[in-house]
């Protein structure tokens, strides 16, 4: 089944404000969900402040060859938002003389940005650790992408790729028919150039997002399971598994509402609030940059159009690391997704 993006369908949830309104409305019973801000307050974390910015996460565009059911970006083939080379250059200028160690490239399918390879090459020149969040299947989507594994290896790019489950059924139900088989082929291609293999320094991490209205289990336990199943069945190896909770926004929010799971899922996130996870949320060491150069506390806030609180800091052309590290992070009800259970971040569990 291929989904159209919410934006293409002109769905109400394609508007950030409507999503925020929904997240803040009472339950059917009239009772309010506990606010995330009050939970933070109870645990001494309000207002939430950064620790130190170490990760510069750049969303280079919302275009994607897939339309996965859980996508918080509402990415898809019809999304045209794309970062220009000029904005990429502004990003490079901003961070080249800082001790920000990591640039995390995301999308959509970041590889579909026509300046993607140029950006990676320039980031390599200034000695940043580069991570690409790949959907895997892009490698097979067009012959011009077939050499991506070699390109990644040449620049020692760390590959973090989606693989919701080690079974075809569970993966395809989230990401679309045929995605599992293509992903397996692409993982083999990455293994062939050295990814996941000891001694190569080429890191390959898989991302598990639950294919439904439940939270991920123990990351450590799931990693063992994924490693065994993928190796036994396909000979695939990888370094780490990141178990990431689906946040109730965009297409996943639409799924939760349509399947009648929204209230239970939200309540489960709230009941599973973990202060240790809250203390280690990724927005405390990450800054997110959108395709048009605006700054956000995280990729989720970006999708909800929650720009930084201080107007003077909102665009990359005004990049000021010291001021950013002193800022106040904006939160809302979706933030429960990062603080539930073992915690969730782009690097997996946080506690």
């Amino acid at each position: 089944m291929t989904l159209a993006t919410l934006k293409r369908r002109q769905h109400l949830l394609s508007y950030a404000k409507k999503q925020l309104d929904f997240l803040n409305q009472p339950k059917e019973s009239g009772e309010q969900f506990t606010s995330f801000e009050s939970k933070l307050n109870q645990t001494g974390l309000d207002p939430l402040k950064p620790t130190k910015i170490d990760i510069f996460q750049v969303n280079v565009g919302y275009m994607c060859n897939l339309t996965c059911g859980h996508c918080h970006v509402d990415a898809g083939p019809d999304r045209k938002e794309i970062m220009t080379r000029e904005t990429m250059q502004e990003c490079i200028n901003s961070i080249k003389d800082t001790d920000i160690s990591t640039v995390d490239l995301t999308g959509g399918a970041p590889e579909m940005n026509p300046d993607f390879r140029w950006f990676v090459e320039e980031l390599s020149k200034i000695n940043k650790r580069v991570i690409v969040r790949s959907n895997l299947t892009i490698i097979l989507a067009n012959p011009k992408y077939n050499d991506l594994p070699e390109f990644f290896a040449k620049h020692k790019v760390e590959v973090v790729c989606s693989m919701p489950h080690f079974t075809r059924l569970r993966t395809d139900s989230q990401r679309g028919d045929g995605v599992f088989d293509k992903s397996i082929t692409c993982l083999k291609m990455l293994n062939e150039v050295g990814y996941g293999k000891e001694g190569t320094g080429l890191m390959l991490h898989l991302v598990h997002n639950p294919s439904g209205a439940f939270m991920p289990g123990s990351q450590e336990s799931l990693q063992k399971e994924f490693k065994k199943k993928l190796f036994d069945a396909f000979g695939i190896i990888f370094n780490d598994l990141y178990a990431i909770t689906n946040l109730p926004i965009s297409r996943y929010l639409d799924y939760l509402i349509n399947s009648g799971n929204y209230e239970n899922y939200m309540q489960k996130l709230i009941d599973s609030y973990n202060p240790d996870a809250a203390a280690n949320v990724m927005c405390r060491n990450t800054i997110s940059i959108s395709w048009d150069g605006y700054l956000y506390d995280c990729d989720f806030n970006q999708m909800l159009e929650m720009k930084l609180k201080d107007e003077n800091l909102q665009h990359i052309r005004n990049f000021d690391l010291e001021a950013l590290e002193a800022r106040e992070i904006l939160v809302n009800q979706h933030c429960y997704g990062c603080t539930a259970g073992s915690g969730s971040s782009c690097g997996g569990a946080t506690s």
């Binding site: 080690f166 439940f214 939270m215 289990g217 123990s218 336990s221 799931l222 009941d271």
Partner: protein, 112 residues
């Protein structure tokens, strides 16, 4: 019409409240419970599947809800979960049938 039933799904979230009337025993139970489900000789997924099967045997709707979610969270497949339920069914069926030996013994004792 009253919506009240003996089982309310919302009560599953109140499981921790059983400590209210007896905090010490409640704590001992939850400490034990937590230890039992930690990964050991068996993986967390295997333990969740056993719990799912037992839930069907003791016919506890709360446990079935909890360990269906728990099994999914730990990466179990639909096939594995259904096999676990069949194990419960086979044991329940077998447990009745094995008493048939008692019935047969008694029958043979009573008949000429």
């Amino acid at each position: 019409m009253s919506k009240k039933t003996y089982y309310n799904a919302e009560d599953l979230n109140k499981f921790g409240n059983i400590s209210e009337f007896s905090p010490e025993l409640g704590k001992k139970f939850f400490d034990y419970y937590g230890e039992v489900f930690k990964e050991g000789e068996l993986t967390e997924r295997e333990k969740a599947l056993i719990a799912l099967a037992v839930s069907h045997t003791v016919q506890c709707p709360y446990c079935i809800d909890a360990y269906t979610s728990g099994s999914l969270e730990k990466g179990a497949t639909e096939g594995q979960m259904m096999e676990a339920v069949h194990i419960a069914a086979a044991i329940r069926g077998g447990a009745s049938l094995v008493h048939g030996v008692q019935m047969m013994n008694k029958t043979k004792e009573l008949l000429m």
